[in-house]
C-alpha cells in the first residue's frame, strides 16, 4: 500500500505517474454521439504539475473525469489508453480501480461542499481517511488529521477539527478538501478549477498551498483551469486544449514565450497583461466563437478563427501533434507553425486610440451610506434587528467619457453601490447627483424616464441577463418603448436593428431566443440594451468575467468603443485588477463597505499602496513569465459585514498593523489621507512608511543577460544556432512564476526604519528601489505582444512622471 511513497523517490523522473495516450471520450446523448475529447495525450512525471488550460466546454474537465473513470452513464472512453504508474487502467478490475481512486488518485473540485459531508464534523471526516485506508488506530488517525490541517495552514487546527463544514468559509472548506485528499497520500492529485469559486486573496493562499504540495509530498498534479496566470504559478508543464483536442503542450517556458500554435498566441493577446493599454496597445480578440462539438470543421478545429488559415493545407486532413524541433517536449497541432511569423500582428489589429479627455463630472457621490436592517423573523419578532453597513461614506466623482473601476472582493459592497445608483435601493444618507439631479433617495419607480435611461447597467452573468422566454428583438424593443424612443412600432424596430449593428451582431438575431446565442453574444445584447437610451452613465458589473477568455477581449473592446463614441461614463465593477489596469482611468478600491484607496490608475498600481491594494495586486495571477511579484498572502478571510472589526476595516488581515503606534488600527477608523493629485488612502501609515513601499509587480530581466536577449527570439528562419526548421532560439533563461519572498520581509524592516519625510509624500518618491522597473519593458513576452513592443508598463513608472503630470513617460 505504501509503495507509492517509495516508488517515485527511488527512480525519480524516470517512470511517469500518468500517461494518457490518444485518449478519446464521447458522450452519448439523444442528439447522438458528442465527442468531448479527441486524441488527447499527456504524461505526468513524479512530483510534476501539469496544467490543462482551455475555455469552457473544451473538454478539460472530461479529461480529469476520464482519469478518475467517473464519466456518468452516458460518457465512454472510445479510444486510447490511460496508464497509471505504468499500468493500463482499462485492464484493471473494478475493485482495483476503486482502490486507486480513493488512495492513489484524489480529485478536488471547484465546489468544496460537493466533497464534504455537511452533517459530519470536519475532524471526523478527515480521520475517516486514515482509519479506512491505512487501518490505523483512532489516536493515530487524529494525529495525522491534525497534522494535515496544520499542513494546509488553517488557523487554530483543533477548533477546525471540531467544526462542521458550514461553519467554515469557502477558502477554509477548500483547504479541508485538500487536506482530505492528501491524507490518503495520493500519487496524483486532480484539481478541477479548485479556486474559481473563491475570492482572489483567498485564491492566492490556496495557490501557494498547492504549489508547495509538489515539493513537500512529492505529489504529481493535474491542474485544470481556464486561467493562464494560475497555471503559470502552479505548474511545470502545460497543455492547451481547444474544442476537444490538445492543441499545444510543452514546458511552461516554451508555451508561454515561444508558443507554436495560433490559438495559444490568440489567448495571450486577448488577456490584459501588464503592458497592454487600451489606447496604445489594445487587446486583440480572437474572432468568432468556439464550434459546437457536433459542428467541428474538417482538419484544424481552430481553422475558422485562425489568421493563418490556408485553404487546402489546414483543412485537408486531421492534424496530429507535431513536435517543435529544438524545444524539449513541445508539441503543436498546427501544420503551419514553421511558416508563421510569430511576431506579426493580425491585420487590422494595430489600431490605436486617442486617449479620451474626461469632461465635466457627470456623477457625484458624496458621503453615501447604505445600511440594511436585517430583522430576525417577520412574524414572531424574535432576534433584535441588526444593521449591516453595506456602504460606509462613499465619495467619488466620475467625469464624462471616463472609466472608473470599482474594485473589491465579494461582499465589499460594490453591488450595493450599483443598486443605489440605479435606484433599486435608496441611500441611507449622503448624496448622489447625476448631472444636476439628486437621485440618492429616488427609487426607480419614482424616477423620470430621462433619469432612468441615462443611468443603465450591464449585468454579470450572460446566461441570466436576458429573459429566456422572449426574443432578442422584442426585449430590445421593450427597452426602447420604456425609454420613450421612437413614436411608432416601426421606428423602434429600426432603432433596434441599428443597435444590433452597433454591437456587431447580425440583424437576423432579432427573432432568436436567448438560448440560441453564445455567452458573448448575449453579453453584447446586454450592452446594446444598456446603451439603448443614450445613457450618460453605464454601470458594468463584471461584464466579462463569466465569458470565455477568447471572447472577453472582443466584448471589452466593444464596450469601450461604444463608450468612446457616446462619451459615456462607465463604472466598471470588477475584482480582477488586470482588467482594471487595462480599462480604467481611475480606480476605487473597496473593502468591507469602505473606499480604502482611490486615485488614477497609475497611482493605484504604483507604490505607495494601501495595504489591501498591495495584497490584491500580489494576489492576481499574471500570465507573464517575466513578471516577478512580491509575495503577500493575507491571513484569514474577509470579515462578515454584519460584524465588522472596530477601527480600520482591514486590520484583521493587515501586515502593516504593527507599524502603527498606539493600537490605532484596532481602535480608530483611519483618516482618508490625501497622497496628492487626488490619490487617497484610508490608512494610518505615515508618509515615510508609505514612501518606502516597493512595487508589487516588477519585470525580471534575467541576471547576466543583455536586455535585448531577455526573451528568446522567435525567428523560425533566423540563421545561427538553429538547424532544423522548427528551431526557435535558445531556451529561456528565466525561471517562471518567480516571487520574491525575502523581498517582502526585508521590505517590512526597511519600512519600519523609514526616516520621517522631509516634506510631503511625493518628494521622496524619486528613488526607486532595485526592483522598481523604470527600465523599458522591451519585448516582454515577444510572441504574444499586442500592438507595440515598446511601452512603459503602466505600473512601473518613475515617480518623476507622477509629479510632472499623470501620464507615464512613454519613450
Amino acid at each position: 500500500m505504501n509503495e507509492r511513497v517509495t516508488d517515485p523517490s527511488q527512480n525519480p523522473g524516470t517512470a511517469p505517474i500518468l500517461e494518457i495516450e490518444n485518449l478519446s471520450i464521447s458522450f452519448f446523448t439523444r442528439k447522438g454521439e458528442i465527442p468531448a475529447v479527441m486524441d488527447f495525450s499527456c504524461t505526468v512525471m513524479p512530483g510534476e504539475a501539469m496544467g490543462i488550460v482551455g475555455e469552457s466546454g473544451c473538454g478539460k474537465s472530461t479529461v480529469s473525469l476520464g482519469v478518475m473513470r467517473d464519466l456518468s452513464n452516458i460518457g465512454r472512453i472510445v479510444g486510447g489508453r490511460i496508464k497509471f504508474q505504468g499500468r493500463d487502467m482499462g485492464d484493471m478490475s473494478d475493485e482495483e480501480l476503486r482502490q486507486i481512486r480513493g488512495n492513489k488518485i484524489a480529485m478536488i473540485y471547484q465546489e468544496p461542499m460537493a466533497s464534504l459531508n455537511p452533517a459530519m464534523k470536519v475532524g471526523q471526516q478527515l480521520m475517516e481517511v486514515p482509519l479506512i485506508h491505512d487501518k490505523v488506530s483512532k489516536d493515530e488517525a487524529y494525529k495525522r488529521a491534525l497534522e494535515m490541517v496544520r499542513a494546509v495552514r488553517l488557523p487554530d487546527p483543533e477548533r477546525m477539527m471540531r467544526s462542521f463544514p458550514h461553519q467554515l468559509s469557502g477558502g477554509q472548506q477548500q483547504r479541508i478538501v485538500i487536506a482530505m485528499a492528501l491524507l490518503s497520500k495520493p500519487a496524483l492529485l486532480l484539481l478541477d478549477e479548485p479556486t474559481t469559486a473563491l475570492d482572489v486573496t483567498v485564491e492566492a493562499g490556496i495557490v501557494e498551498l498547492v504549489k508547495g504540495l509538489g515539493k513537500q509530498f512529492g505529489t504529481s498534479m493535474l491542474f485544470v483551469s481556464h486561467n493562464l496566470g494560475l497555471i503559470l504559478e502552479t505548474c511545470d508543464k502545460i497543455t492547451v486544449m481547444y474544442s476537444g483536442e490538445a492543441v499545444e503542450t510543452g514546458r511552461i517556458e516554451d508555451v508561454f514565450d515561444r508558443m507554436r500554435h495560433p490559438y495559444t498566441q490568440g489567448l495571450f493577446r486577448s488577456i490584459p497583461l501588464p503592458g497592454a493599454d487600451k489606447n496604445e496597445r489594445p487587446l486583440v480578440a480572437i474572432p468568432g466563437q468556439l464550434p459546437l462539438p457536433h459542428e467541428r470543421p474538417k482538419g484544424c478545429n481552430f481553422g475558422p478563427r485562425c489568421h493563418h488559415f490556408v485553404e487546402g493545407v489546414c483543412n485537408a486532413a486531421e492534424i496530429p501533434m507535431i513536435e517543435v524541433e529544438g524545444h524539449e517536449g513541445h508539441f503543436s497541432r498546427c501544420v503551419r507553425f514553421n511558416e508563421i511569423d510569430w511576431a506579426a500582428l493580425p491585420k487590422g489589429a494595430e489600431k490605436k486610440h486617442e486617449p479620451v479627455k474626461p469632461g465635466a463630472p457627470v456623477l457625484k457621490i458624496d458621503n453615501l451610506k447604505k445600511y440594511y436592517t436585517v430583522s430576525g423573523n417577520e412574524i414572531f419578532g424574535g432576534a433584535e434587528a441588526r444593521v449591516v453597513k453595506a456602504n460606509e461614506s462613499i465619495s467619488f466623482e466620475a467625469r464624462e467619457s471616463e472609466t472608473v473601476a470599482i474594485v473589491g472582493e465579494s461582499g465589499c459592497g460594490k453591488s450595493t453601490l450599483a443598486k443605489v445608483l440605479l435606484g433599486l435601493e435608496t441611500a441611507s444618507s449622503g448624496d448622489v447627483v447625476l448631472g444636476n439631479t439628486p437621485i440618492q433617495s429616488t427609487a426607480i419607480e419614482k424616477r423620470e424616464v430621462d433619469t432612468i435611461s441615462s443611468i443603465q447597467m450591464v449585468f454579470q452573468n450572460p446566461f441570466d441577463t436576458l429573459n429566456p422566454s422572449h426574443s432578442i428583438g422584442s426585449q430590445i424593443i421593450r427597452t426602447l418603448e420604456k425609454f420613450g424612443i421612437g413614436k411608432t412600432v416601426a421606428d423602434r424596430e429600426k432603432r433596434m436593428f441599428e443597435l444590433l449593428d452597433l454591437v456587431k451582431l447580425p440583424r437576423a438575431f432579432a427573432v432568436r431566443k436567448p438560448r440560441q446565442l453564445s455567452g458573448g453574444q448575449k453579453q453584447r445584447i446586454g450592452v446594446a440594451r444598456a446603451f439603448a437610451g443614450a445613457a450618460k452613465v453605464v454601470v458594468a458589473d463584471e461584464p466579462v468575467s463569466a465569458l470565455d477568455v477568447s471572447v472577453q477581449a472582443a466584448v471589452t473592446e466593444l464596450l469601450m468603443e461604444i463608450q468612446r463614441k457616446n462619451k459615456t461614463t462607465m463604472l466598471f465593477i470588477s475584482h480582477d485588477l488586470s482588467v482594471v489596469r487595462y480599462i480604467a482611468d481611475r480606480v476605487v478600491v473597496m473593502y468591507l463597505g469602505h473606499i480604502v484607496e482611490q486615485g488614477s490608475t497609475d497611482q493605484i498600481f504604483a507604490p505607495p499602496y494601501h495595504p489591501y491594494t498591495e495584497a490584491l495586486l500580489s494576489a492576481i495571477p499574471i500570465a507573464d513569465t517575466s513578471v516577478v511579484k512580491k509575495h503577500i498572502v493575507l491571513e484569514g478571510d474577509i470579515p462578515s459585514a454584519m460584524n465588522p472589526p472596530p477601527g480600520c476595516p482591514f486590520q484583521t488581515r493587515c501586515r502593516y498593523k504593527r507599524l502603527v503606534p498606539d493600537n490605532l488600527c484596532e481602535t480608530k477608523l483611519p483618516p482618508l489621507k490625501d497622497l496628492g493629485a487626488g490619490h487617497r488612502s484610508l490608512c494610518w501609515l505615515d508618509d515615510a512608511q508609505l514612501a518606502a513601499m516597493e512595487p508589487v509587480i516588477s519585470f525580471d530581466r534575467g541576471v547576466n543577460v543583455p536586455v535585448s536577449d531577455v526573451v528568446p527570439t522567435d525567428e523560425p528562419h533566423g540563421e545561427g544556432a538553429g538547424t532544423g526548421p522548427g528551431f526557435a532560439g535558445a531556451p529561456p533563461q528565466r525561471p517562471h512564476g518567480k516571487t520574491s519572498d525575502a523581498d517582502a520581509e526585508s521590505e517590512m524592516e526597511r519600512i519600519e526604519r523609514a526616516p520621517p519625510p522631509p516634506h510631503g509624500s511625493r518628494e521622496i518618491t524619486g528613488n526607486p528601489g532595485d526592483s522598481s522597473p523604470d527600465k523599458l519593458q522591451t519585448e516582454v513576452g515577444d510572441g504574444r505582444q499586442a500592438v507595440s513592443g515598446e511601452v512603459t508598463p503602466g505600473l512601473g513608472k518613475t515617480r518623476q512622471s507622477e509629479v510632472d503630470g499623470n501620464e507615464p513617460n512613454r519613450s
Binding site: R30, R447, S453, Q456, Q460, D464, T465, P468, S469, H470
Partner: protein
C-alpha cells in the same frame, strides 16, 4: 331475464370496435405529431421517450372518447332497460340486438355507455377547474413571492389554513345543502370567476400601456367576452342565454378550485422567489418596469415548465377528487354517469356483482396514470435542457 350473451373474445372485439372514431383520431394525431415532432417544441420532445408516448396516447384516448362519446356509446347513459338489471357483461339486449358489453348496473343502465359518458364530465370539470386553480394560485402566488414580507406572510398563512383543512370536510361543507342555501358557494364562485378577467386585464395592461389603441381593443375584448362568460357562469344571467352552469356542477367546481389553489399558490410563490433573483428581472427593474409587468411578463413565462408539470398532476388529483366526491354522493346529481358516482353505486353491490364497478375504476385509473406519465415525461424533458 335475457339469456343471450356473447363470449369474452366477442366482448373485447366489440368494445374495440365501438371505439373506432377514437382509433382513427389517435392514428391521425399521433402520426402527425410524430412526423413533425422536431418542430413542436416541448410537446414534440415527448415523443422521444416511451413514457411520453404512453402518456400522450392515454390522455388523447380519453380526450377523444369524451369528444365522440355519443358515437361510441351504444346507449344513453340514463336510459334504463328493465330486463337488463345487473345483467352480466356481454348480454344482448332483447329486440335491439345491441350488447351491454360491460353488463348492466342495478338500475339496468349500460355500464359501458355510462363509463363513456362519464369521461365527458371528468374531462370538462377536471381541466377547467385546474385552469381556474392555476389562475387563482398564480395571481396570489406572484405577489407573495415577489414582494415577500407582510403580503407573503398573510397570503401564505391563508393558503396554509386552507391546506390544513381536511379536504373532504371542506367539500362536505361547500356542497351540503345548508351551506349552499346561504349562497356561499355562489359568492365564492363570483370571486373566483372574476380572477381570470383581472388576470388577463393586468396582463395586457402592463404590456401595452404605452400603445393606447391596441390596449383599448384588448380591454374591450376582455370586458365583453369575459363579462359575458362571467355573467353566465357566476350569476346565471347570460343575456343571450347560451352560457349557464348546473348549480351542482358549480358547487363542485368551486370546491375543487378552492381546494387546489393553495397548492398552486405555493408552487408559484416558490418559483417567483427563485426567478426574481435573476439578472433579467433586475434589468427589467432598472428600465423602470412596474412590478406587475415583471411578475406577469418576466417571471411567469419562465415558471411555465414546472407549472405545466404541476397542472398535469393536478388534473389527475382533481379527477380523483371528483371520484371521491362522487363516491360520497356529494355534488353531482345521483344519476350522473361520472366515474366516482358510478363506483359508489356499484360498490353497494360489490359482493354480488363486481362487474359494474370495474369499468369506471379502470377508466379512472388509466386516465390518472396517463396524466402522471405525461407529467413524468414533461419533467424529464425539462430537466434535459
Amino acid at each position: 331475464m335475457p339469456t343471450e350473451t356473447i363470449g369474452a373474445l366477442a366482448i373485447i372485439i366489440g368494445v374495440i370496435g365501438r371505439f373506432w372514431p377514437v382509433w382513427i383520431a389517435l392514428a391521425i394525431v399521433l402520426t402527425l405529431s410524430f412526423t413533425f415532432r422536431g418542430r413542436l417544441g416541448l410537446y414534440g420532445q415527448l415523443f422521444e421517450s416511451g413514457v411520453g408516448v404512453a402518456g400522450v396516447t392515454i390522455c388523447f384516448f380519453w380526450l377523444f372518447t369524451a369528444m365522440f362519446a355519443h358515437v361510441i356509446a351504444p346507449f344513453d347513459p340514463l336510459t334504463q332497460v328493465a330486463v337488463m338489471k345487473d345483467a352480466m357483461p356481454g348480454t344482448v339486449v332483447p329486440d335491439q340486438g345491441l350488447v351491454y358489453y360491460f353488463g348492466g348496473d342495478k338500475l339496468a343502465r349500460d355500464v359501458f355507455s355510462r363509463m363513456i359518458f362519464g369521461s365527458r364530465i371528468v374531462l370538462i370539470i377536471a381541466p377547467a377547474a385546474t385552469a381556474f386553480a392555476l389562475m387563482v394560485g398564480t395571481t396570489l402566488g406572484l405577489p407573495a413571492g415577489y414582494y415577500g414580507g407582510k403580503i407573503d406572510a398573510l397570503l401564505s398563512f391563508l393558503a396554509n389554513l386552507v391546506l390544513a383543512f381536511p379536504v373532504i370536510l371542506l367539500f362536505y361543507l361547500l356542497v351540503t345543502p345548508g351551506i349552499v342555501e346561504t349562497g356561499l358557494p355562489h359568492w365564492i364562485a363570483r370571486v373566483f370567476f372574476i380572477v381570470p378577467i383581472i388576470f388577463f386585464g393586468t396582463l395586457f395592461f402592463t404590456r401595452y400601456k404605452n400603445r393606447p389603441q391596441l390596449l383599448a381593443v384588448q380591454m374591450a375584448l376582455i370586458v365583453i367576452l369575459g363579462g359575458w362568460v362571467y355573467l353566465g357562469l357566476a350569476f346565471d344571467a347570460d343575456p343571450l342565454g347560451i352560457i349557464s352552469i348546473d348549480p351542482n356542477q358549480l358547487n363542485i367546481f368551486v370546491a375543487v378550485v378552492f381546494a387546489s389553489s393553495p397548492g398552486v399558490f405555493r408552487i408559484v410563490r416558490g418559483l417567483t422567489m427563485d426567478i426574481k433573483t435573476r439578472d433579467y428581472v433586475a434589468a427589467a427593474q432598472t428600465r423602470g418596469e412596474s412590478p406587475w409587468y415583471i411578475m406577469l411578463w418576466e417571471i411567469l413565462p419562465n415558471a411555465r415548465g414546472p407549472l405545466i408539470v404541476d397542472a398535469c398532476l393536478r388534473i389527475g388529483y382533481t379527477t380523483i377528487l371528483l371520484g371521491t366526491l362522487g363516491y360520497f354522493g356529494l355534488g353531482l346529481a345521483p344519476e350522473s354517469p361520472d366515474w366516482g358516482t358510478a363506483i359508489k353505486d356499484a360498490s353497494r353491490l360489490l359482493r354480488s356483482f363486481i362487474h359494474p364497478a370495474l369499468p369506471p375504476v379502470v377508466a379512472l385509473m388509466t386516465f390518472v396514470l396517463g396524466l402522471n406519465l405525461l407529467a413524468d415525461a414533461l419533467r424529464e424533458q425539462s430537466l434535459k435542457d
